[in-house]
């Protein structure tokens, strides 16, 4: 229905990526990456991505580190954190600096994320 919205989801857990794709794949065009590095590559190849959702805790590069780099290169993209941790100071700081729009907790809440995506892309347009 809104397959013209391109979303990148970054998580080091294979099952998380699969489930995300399964649940959102019919509504949006979902791309996945299993690391921050991979995410940056995909961003470079796909200029149409408007939403990026990333896990927090990943090997090598944390979600916030990845977002910090990506935000500098693609300031128009909306970034989100989807994490198993609750709210913490790091995330609070990222929100204060407008690095991310907001954060979601695991396990994922489909309607909440979907409405936020639609909201964000709707505003963008």
């Amino acid at each position: 229905m809104n397959t013209d919205i391109n979303i990148l989801y970054v998580d080091d857990e294979f099952l998380n990526l699969q489930i995300f794709k399964f649940n959102f794949g019919k509504k949006f065009n979902v791309l996945v990456a299993d690391s921050g590095d991979e995410g940056l590559r995909i961003l470079a190849d796909n200029a149409s991505i408007s939403i990026v959702i990333s896990d927090m805790k990943m090997p090598n590069m944390s979600g916030l580190e990845f977002i910090e780099i990506a935000k500098r290169m693609y300031p128009s993209i909306c970034f989100y954190i989807l994490t198993g941790f609750g709210m913490n100071e790091e995330i609070q700081k990222a929100m204060d600096e407008k690095l991310i729009n907001r954060y979601f907790s695991k396990p994922l809440n489909l309607p909440l994320i979907e409405s936020e995506i639609l909201n964000a892309t709707g505003q963008n347009r």
Partner: protein, 742 residues
């Protein structure tokens, strides 16, 4: 001429002398013969011959007269020639009866003796030939006697003439013989004497050589050639050890100066052979291997065209040892004098210092440069000079070897005045009278003495003053005593304060420990929560996917599917809720401005404690309907209520009920936790918030739970209150400031 033995004159001289004597004696007899000849010539009428003979005799006289002017050989030849003339004339005149033929023996002997044996033989041969020639001439009748032989032999003058000639010849032979034998005898004697003298000398030199205390060695071609006995004693060796060996072969490899012995010896021998005598010290090795030092003197000497080096070795081991001992003794005395704590000084009668130990310089500043200066800057204090002079005069004029103890002031080179105490002694050095001064610097002592004197004088005054002061002080002390009592009281109060502070500190320590524990727990639970959230995400994602799938295919109407899906959802929700609660519970921030929903906090506590409560205790929630917000730290509030609920549950022995009740008024949120358990006695109720107070058995409770609760409530600016009845139960009432939504 007799002053010296004949042998010491040359043989030539002897010959000359004999020649001259013969010339004189022959001249005398020739004169006699000439007189006789005159008469015989008259008798036998051969004047011609007589003239010849006379001429010859005259020449002979001439030679004799001038004998000093002719050389020995020339005189002999002339004598021989003249005798030959007389001889020939005699034979011509008298033939067989010529007396001159007797001269053959004398002339030959004379020539043989004075000139040479060969010339003597030649002379003899010539004269015999002439004799035989005349004999032949007479025998063949070419010559004949002018006189009657018979008559001639009866003429006495002929006999006389013959006698003169015989005497002359015989005398000459005897004379020569006499002188020869005399010369020979003397020669032998002198040789004998010489021999004895030589033997004597040999003996003398040998004794000198052998009895010398020094080793004397002859060295040829750098090798020992001969040596005296002492050499062997010195080396404690047999001759074989040193003979025909080079000196460095029985020396250590290196001399004490570190130079190689062989090279050094070579160098020295080079210098000696160039005629430069060498005197030096050397180290040798005895045959038994012992080292010893010698002083060596080397000289070149010439013996029978052979060049030797004469070495004289003196064993100086003993003198070296002595020198070392003297040095040691010297060192000892020097140390003794230098380390002596007082000034020691030697001076002569002119006032020159001969020696001073180091204290002389350090105390008075007199350096060796000042020793010969008479008006030194450092000197006896002018006021004390008479005392010192008097003592000096007394010492020098008296028989005492040292003076009385003298105390005097002394001004050093820097102008500082010292007090010295010391004595002056008479000392003889190399036969000369010197003065030895030993002085001690007693300036400090003098100062103390003076001060003591002063003290003594003022002591009475002091005692009077002190007595008065003591009285005053006594009164003061009494006053002070009262003050002290007051201060003592103060200290007691302070002590109590300190004890309180101690307790506070103890509490703070406990809190720190607990905080640290909670922080660790927080980190742990946060990690666990995250790890559980991922699998929950899988389940939730899967559930959502299935739900979408069943909805699309219209299968949601199936009641079984509906039930199963709702079961999964409920499970995930519950697990999510637990993990969420854990996360909240374990937060370790120090932030006290979080928005805390009291109901959520209480629910979280129940969630965590669910397993320990269920089946035994019923929890009854009496919450007010609206959510109630408090400002504070979620983690700490969780900790607070969980403590109260645990206490309540532990108060219930078997089964019971816990009621959680919330109320709100204008300023405070009130939470009541009530149990129907054992209750707390009145006396314990006052102490339950003290740290480490517990009624539980050792090991099952720390006694700090309620104390921490009290701390947390204080931090949140709240209060708590206990009401309890034994066997009825306990109610805790907590009041926390309400968060205003302004």
């Amino acid at each position: 001429m007799s002053s010296k033995p004949i042998v010491q004159k040359s043989f030539e001289q002897l010959k000359g002398k004999i020649t001259d004597y013969i010339l004189v004696s022959v001249s005398v007899f020739a004169a006699l013969s000439a007189i006789l000849g005159f008469f015989r010539a008259g008798s036998y009428g051969n004047w011609q011959l007589y003239q010849w003979q006379l001429t010859a005799i005259a020449v002979f006289f001439g030679i004799t007269f001038f004998r000093k002017r002719f050389s020995g050989a020339a005189k002999i030849y002339l004598v021989v020639a003249i005798i030959a003339v007389i001889y020939i004339t005699g034979l011509l005149g008298f033939g067989f009866f010529a007396a001159a033929k007797l001269l053959i023996t004398g002339v030959s002997l004379l020539v043989a003796f004075v000139l040479s044996y060969r010339k003597g033989l030649v002379t003899l041969a010539v004269f015999l030939f002439l004799y035989l020639l005349f004999g032949f001439l007479f025998s063949v009748g070419l010559l004949e006697n002018s006189f009657d032989a018979q008559a001639y032999s009866q003429d006495f003058s002929a006999w006389l003439n013959d006698a003169v000639v015989i005497f002359l010849a015989s005398f000459g032979v005897m004379y020569i013989g006499y002188y020869f034998s005399k010369a020979l005898t003397e020669n032998f004697k002198s040789l004998e004497n010489k021999h004895i003298e030589l033997a004597d000398n040999e003996n003398k030199y040998r004794t000198l050589f052998d009895s010398s205390n020094d080793a004397i060695i002859l060295i040829r071609d750098n090798r020992y050639f001969d040596c005296n006995e002492i050499t062997l004693t010195m080396f404690k060796c047999s001759r074989d050890y040193i003979m025909n060996r080079e000196p460095h072969e029985f020396s250590p490899e290196f001399q004490p100066d570190g130079i190689n012995s062989a090279e050094k010896a070579k160098e020295i021998f080079n210098l000696v052979s160039n005629g430069i005598p060498q005197i030096f010290d050397w180290q040798h090795i005895k045959e038994n291997g012992e080292l010893f030092d010698v002083s060596v003197s080397l000289n070149v000497i010439q013996l029978k065209q052979t060049t030797y080096v004469q070495a004289v070795l003196r064993d100086i081991t003993a003198s070296k040892e002595a020198a070392r001992r003297i040095e040691e003794s010297d060192e000892r005395y020097k140390k003794l004098v230098e380390s002596f704590p007082d000034i020691i000084m030697l001076s002569n009668l002119e006032g020159h210092i001969v020696y001073g130990n180091k204290h002389l310089e350090t105390i008075t500043g007199i350096t060796p440069a000042d020793y010969k200066v008479l008006n030194r800057k450092a000197t006896v204090h002018p006021d004390d000079l008479p005392v010192v002079r008097a003592e000096l005069v007394k010492l020098l004029s008296g028989s005492n070897t040292h003076s009385e103890m003298i105390e005097n002031r002394f001004i050093d080179v820097w102008g500082k005045v010292h007090w010295f105490s010391g004595t002056i002694s008479k000392v003889y050095l190399n036969g000369q009278l010197h003065l030895q001064t030993v002085s001690r610097d007693i300036t400090e002592r003098k100062k103390i003495e003076e001060e003591l004197e002063k003290y003594k004088n003022s002591l009475e005054e002091l005692i009077r003053e002190r007595t008065y002061e003591l009285e005053v002080t006594n009164e003061e002390l009494l006053a002070t005593n009262d003050e002290l009592f007051a201060k003592n009281e103060l200290i007691r109060v302070q002590n109590i304060d300190l004890q309180r502070t101690m307790e506070k500190l103890k509490k703070a320590q406990v809190q720190l420990i607990q905080a640290e524990k909670m922080a660790s727990l927080g980190v742990l639970t946060a990690g666990v929560a995250h790890e559980i959230n991922n699998p929950l995400n899988f389940i939730m994602g899967g559930y959502e996917g299935l739900l979408a799938h069943f909805t699309e295919n219209g299968l949601t109407e199936n009641s079984d599917i509906q039930f199963l899906l709702s079961t999964i959802k409920a499970g995930v929700d519950r697990a999510t809720e637990i993990v969420c609660g854990l996360g909240r519970f374990s937060r370790s921030t120090e932030n006290f401005s979080e928005n805390c929903n009291i109901h959520t906090v209480l629910d979280d506590c129940l969630l965590v404690l669910n397993s320990s409560l269920k089946n035994r205790i019923t929890v009854e929630k009496q919450y007010i309907t609206n959510s109630v917000m408090v400002m504070g730290n979620i983690g700490k509030l969780n900790q607070l209520f969980i403590n109260f609920i645990i206490n309540a549950s532990q108060a219930i022995e078997k089964e019971g009920i816990i009621i959680l009740k919330t109320e709100v008024d204008n300023d405070f949120v009130t939470v009541e936790i009530t149990d129907n358990g054992a209750g707390i006695s009145a006396e314990n109720l006052n102490r339950i918030t003290e740290p480490f107070f517990t009624t539980k058995a050792p090991g099952s409770g720390t006694g700090i739970g309620l104390y921490i609760c009290h701390s947390i409530i204080t931090e949140h600016l709240g209060t708590m209150h206990f009401t309890s009845k034994i066997d009825k139960g306990t109610t805790v009432t907590v009041k926390l400031p309400k968060k205003h939504n302004a």
